[in-house]
């Protein structure tokens, strides 16, 4: 009862407690200006992770860029006219001047290397150095673009209506900033052309920034809604504000601590204020009980101490369960996941500490008349309490039926769960009509695709990549990969050699093939490297000619698409034996690994949290049986939600994975409150009943299913602490429903998930716990 001494101290020295709390809060708040934000989801994998090391190596070997922005220029009348071409040239020139753009390797009509033969002269030069003057020249340009497989679907669409500019970024450049500069510039353009900006860096950096921005908008908004809803629940503005402060203080303390320690705040950790706000609502049980008690005893101080005696234990254990649920994330591999877990776990502990000090102290400032007025409404026979009693009655009076329905629901949900795919698609984090999604769609429909992957072919020896056999193998593999619906275009040194061979032989289409000798291939490559930009060749083969790089443009950012590509490569390798080795790389591959590592880390964390929560439940109830019973509504809720996710076809992505942990921490709270308070009530009743039955002697005969101590206690629990549970759920749901209107889908997911989870788990607890307890009372209550 050490904690209760803290409560007593707090109610006796409320001013001191509040002053200390505010002082510490200010102390932590001073750390905020030091905040280091990392909006790059990529950084969730450490720089030393295999995929980042390998991708860096591939980037170095082939002089590739980590990030490329694609600008699509669409003219419905076709881009082959003087005006559009002039604009393409003007825009390209402007882009070359933007800071952060790797100008030397921008690929546009005016910069891309073209290999042609004109009247016996071999020409390796940028495709369009001057704007064509007349129809004849325009026609020639059209031909050289559309008939060249190196350009088709890459910088020009088959219908000639879409042109693209590929804009690689220097290391460390911010994709959103560059994209914003391009946007400004294209706004100044006149004419019929439409412009679309796509590419991973735009999505990633925009997402990162938006995520933080939205956090700044929606966290306060959710807070405000909670404040209002709370006011309507208790009709006391002062106490509503207290609850709000409770959440704010814990956010400031925990964020302040982490910022002060110099830990960068990633996207995931940026969501922690919302989480803490959610967890803070658990204090509502204190308020709930307080008003009932105050009505009964009429004295503020006594009411507080009695309240804390009654709810102290469940409040402590729910905190322990929630904190543990997040703390398990600490043993995961991914640093931002750890930071997130630690941040929320720490905040949860702060919250509970405040529940025993700050909140009781704040109660002391409220006038008793106001409390009395508010408490008058807390009647167990009226309104919501009656409704809750009726709900609990379903389980209590028809437990078999209720459980049977539950079992069917459970089976259906499990079937749904099997349909869940673990997938992440960053572009889909934006809404369908958002600029980024639209741009991505346009480019994916008209060109080869905006998501880029590489397959690096590694030969056993240097110089092997010049052999006709190796190149023909690559050629076959490319054709095989192009059969996948997700693959829009592939491109490798093979295409270049075929092109040169054709051009050397007087542009004879029959010569568009791999020549038969290693010498010819070597000399072609040398010839090409003499005139082209260094990167033109470097991006396709390494210096010793041991490795070749196949570029693969994908039409979707689904992690699954890359998985299919890797599978197709393996298939091909099985079907046709080779000494070549193939390894995937590139941003699409990174996303796949990120998807697997981060999400599976979260899944592992979630499963571990399930176990830890069970242990805490057993400790709390000092009984494994009760732990199992309390666990059922939790599991049921989770299975039901994942079942729905499975049926709707929503992927198990990052937002969902983060929420899983929260759901666990929250849903278990309700069960803890219900079971603890039910058992307390039962004990109290037994004392009362014991007195009564010894007096009446016949009491035993009165015990039927419709009126037994268990039934009474269940209905009482549903009506009184149940009201706290319902209030908690409503509060939560209303606050988070705000997020349904956010422009980023992860927010919508968070909103929808929390709303449904809270409502469901509250219902599960109030309906299924009574049903289970009624059915299993013999087994459960034997030693009670």
């Amino acid at each position: 009862m050490k904690r209760l001494r803290l409560v007593e101290f707090s109610v006796d020295h409320p001013k001191l407690i509040v002053a200390i709390t505010i002082f510490i809060t200010i102390l932590f708040a001073t750390q905020f200006p030091k905040i280091k934000i990392d909006t790059n989801p990529k950084h969730m994998l450490p720089a030393t992770s295999d995929v980042r090391v390998w991708n860096d190596e591939v980037d170095r070997t082939f002089g590739l860029y980590e990030d490329v922005i694609v600008l699509g220029i669409v003219n419905e009348k076709g881009v082959f006219n003087k005006d559009t071409l002039k604009r393409i040239k003007g825009i390209t020139d402007e882009i070359l001047k933007i800071k952060g753009v790797a100008s030397r390797d921008v690929n546009s009509f005016t910069t891309i290397t073209n290999v042609t033969a004109e009247k016996g002269t071999l020409r390796v030069a940028p495709l369009m150095t001057d704007i064509p003057e007349d129809d004849k020249e325009i026609e020639a340009l059209r031909k050289s673009l559309l008939e060249n497989p190196l350009f088709l679907n890459r910088i020009i669409s088959e219908d000639g209506k879409t042109a693209a500019i590929y804009i690689p970024l220097e290391k460390g450049a911010n994709g959103k900033e560059v994209a914003d500069r391009i946007r400004e510039m294209i706004k100044r353009q006149k004419g019929d052309e439409k412009y679309y900006i796509a590419g991973d860096p735009v999505a990633r950096d925009t997402f990162g920034v938006e995520m933080f921005k939205l956090m700044a908008i929606f966290a306060p908004m959710a807070g405000a809604v909670m404040l209002i809803v709370r006011y309507f629940m208790f009709r006391d503005f002062f106490l509503s504000v207290t609850l709000m402060m409770d959440a704010m203080i814990s956010i400031i303390w925990s964020m302040g601590l982490f910022i002060g320690a110099g830990i960068p705040i990633h996207i995931m950790a940026s969501m922690s204020p919302v989480f803490l706000m959610a967890i803070a609502t658990d204090s509502i049980h204190i308020f709930n009980e307080f008003y009932f008690r105050f009505r009964e005893v009429g004295n503020k101080r006594t009411a507080i101490i009695e309240t804390m005696k009654a709810v102290g234990r469940p409040v402590r254990y729910t905190a322990a369960a929630t904190a543990a649920g997040f703390a398990v994330l600490l043993i995961m591999h991914i640093i931002p996941v750890k930071v997130f877990g630690a941040l929320v776990a720490f905040g949860t502990i702060i919250l509970r500490f405040l529940s025993f000090s700050f909140i009781p102290a704040m109660f002391m400032f409220v006038k008793e008349e106001k409390l009395a007025e508010a408490a008058r409404r807390e009647d167990m026979e009226k309104g919501s309490s009656r409704f809750l009693k009726r709900l609990a009655g379903l389980g209590t009076f028809a437990p078999e039926k209720t459980i049977f329905i539950g079992a069917i629901l459970l089976l259906i949900s499990i079937a749904g769960m099997t349909r869940i795919t673990v997938n992440n698609n960053m572009v889909e984090w934006f809404k369908k009509k958002s600029e980024i999604r639209v741009a991505d769609n346009v480019l994916n429909n008209n060109l080869g695709g905006s998501s880029l992957a590489y397959i690096v072919a590694i030969a056993p020896e240097d110089e092997d990549m010049k052999s006709p056999d190796a190149l023909r193998y690559l050629e076959g593999l490319q054709r095989h990969l192009e059969r996948l619906p997700e693959v829009g275009k592939t491109f490798s040194v093979v295409d270049l050699i075929r092109r040169i061979n054709r051009v050397i032989h007087d542009d004879d289409p029959a010569s568009e093939r791999i020549p038969d000798s290693k010498e010819i291939i070597g000399q072609y490559l040398f010839l090409f490297s003499m005139s082209a930009r260094p990167s033109d060749l470097d991006s396709l083969v390494d210096y010793p000619m041991k490795r070749a790089n196949i570029w693969i443009q994908l039409k979707t950012w689904d992690a699954q698409a890359m998985r299919n590509v890797i599978k197709a490569v393996e298939e091909y390798k099985r079907a046709y034996r080779t000494s070549l080795e193939f390894r995937p790389a590139g941003i699409a591959y990174f996303n796949l690994v990120w998807n697997d590592e981060v999400l599976w880390d979260m899944v592992k964390g979630f499963i571990l949290a399930l176990i830890v929560v069970f242990v805490i439940l057993s400790l709390d109830f000092k009984s494994i049986k009760w732990a199992i019973v309390a666990y059922v509504p939790l599991l049921f809720t989770i299975v039901l939600i994942y079942g729905v996710i499975g049926y709707t076809g929503k992927d198990f992505d990052m937002p969902v994975s983060v929420l899983s942990c929260l759901s666990l921490g929250m849903a278990v709270d309700f069960a803890i409150h219900f079971v603890s308070r039910f058992r307390q009530r039962l004990k109290e009743q037994a004392l009362e009943l014991g007195v009564q039955s010894s007096a009446a002697g016949e009491a035993k005969n009165l015990v039927t299913r419709h009126s037994s101590p268990v039934t009474d206690a269940l209905l009482w629990t549903a009506a009184r602490p149940g009201k706290g549970i319902m209030r908690n759920a409503v509060l939560f749901a209303s606050a988070f429903s705000v997020m349904l209107f956010a422009p980023l889908t992860p927010y919508i997911t968070v909103g929808a998930f929390i709303v449904s989870m809270m409502t469901l788990s509250a219902l599960m607890v109030i309906i299924y716990l009574p049903a289970l307890i009624t059915l299993l009372q013999g087994w459960l209550l034997r030693e009670v």
Binding site: R60, T61, G63, L96, K97, I98, K99, A102, S103, R104, D105, E118, G120, T121, L122, R123, V124, A125, P126, T129, E170, E463, K466, I504, S517, K518, E519, I520, G522, Q523, F526, L527, S529, M530, S531, A532, R533, P534, S535, L537, D538, D542, Y543, P544
Partner: protein
């Protein structure tokens, strides 16, 4: 006999240089050189020295990751006119191994596109190569054709921005800004040795005004009285790529015949010139 003559002309140049420097020292203000004059003298010293020229060129192309590509070639040059005038180049490749026997020929004209021809031994075929861009890479290195054979003086506006010492050598520092916009850099700063007019260092600034390429003359030798840069480096700061060039077996005024610069010798170069 010839050897004697060349020594003789080297000696003459030496005397002239001495006189010039004394003269300029005595009345510096009176005959202050314009930026154009300095650039012209620099081109003369760097690209037009002697009647003709021969060197075995070892090029090392080094990628950011430290991978290396080797180019080994013999370069022959003959002047047809004064500084800034026509020149012909003949290049024979020894390395990389698979391009051995490949030859390359350039007719360089002032103020117009070069003519270039390449012999592809594996196909036994001579192909003319279009060359409209003098700023394109020379055999895949960080040097451009202009860096090898000189840029038309009239293409830039030149100004002396200061005079300063660079590793103990007095230099003119010249800023050259291309008049046309279709060049890969926005301006170049050159440190030109006041004594022999060789460029010791050049800095190229890109369109965003950031330093992007640096040329350095790393080793100088006097060959037949001609101060010659025998080791040079061009470093691209943006892509981390670098090319080191070493000239060995440098010689001047060896009497290269006009007939060398023909398709016949492109197909079958004479040993005596390429070795």
């Amino acid at each position: 006999m010839r050897r004697f003559r060349t020594q003789d002309s080297g000696f003459k140049i030496f005397i002239i240089c001495c006189l010039l420097s004394i003269f300029s020292f005595l009345s510096f203000d009176a005959i202050a050189l314009t930026a154009e004059d300095i650039v012209k003298r620099s081109q003369e010293a760097f690209f037009y020295q002697g009647k003709d020229f021969k060197a075995r060129v070892m090029m090392k192309l080094i990628s950011k990751g430290g991978q290396e590509r080797i180019r080994e070639l013999t370069m022959l040059r003959k002047n047809y006119g004064d500084t800034g005038g026509e020149q012909k180049y003949f290049i024979y490749f020894f390395q990389p191994a698979d391009v051995k026997d490949m030859t390359f020929m350039v007719y360089k004209y002032p103020a117009r596109d070069d003519d270039r021809w390449l012999f592809i031994p594996a196909l036994n075929m001579v192909r003319r190569i279009a060359a409209q861009d003098k700023r394109s890479s020379f055999v895949g290195s960080d040097f451009t054709y202009e860096d090898v054979s000189g840029r038309d003086i009239e293409d830039d506006r030149h100004e002396i921005i200061k005079e300063e010492k660079l590793s103990d050598k007095d230099c003119y520092v010249i800023k050259s800004t291309p008049k046309a916009g279709d060049v890969d850099y926005s301006y170049k700063i050159s440190w030109i040795d006041k004594v022999n007019y060789l460029p010791l260092k050049e800095e190229y600034y890109d369109k965003k005004g950031e330093l992007y390429k640096i040329f350095t003359a790393d080793e100088m030798k006097d060959i037949k009285g001609f101060p010659t840069v025998t080791k040079r480096t061009m470093k691209n700061l943006q892509n981390g790529h670098m090319t080191e060039v070493v000239f060995i077996k440098v010689d001047y005024n060896i009497g290269i015949e006009d007939s060398l610069f023909s398709e016949r010798y492109l197909r079958q170069p004479q040993r005596k010139w390429i070795e």
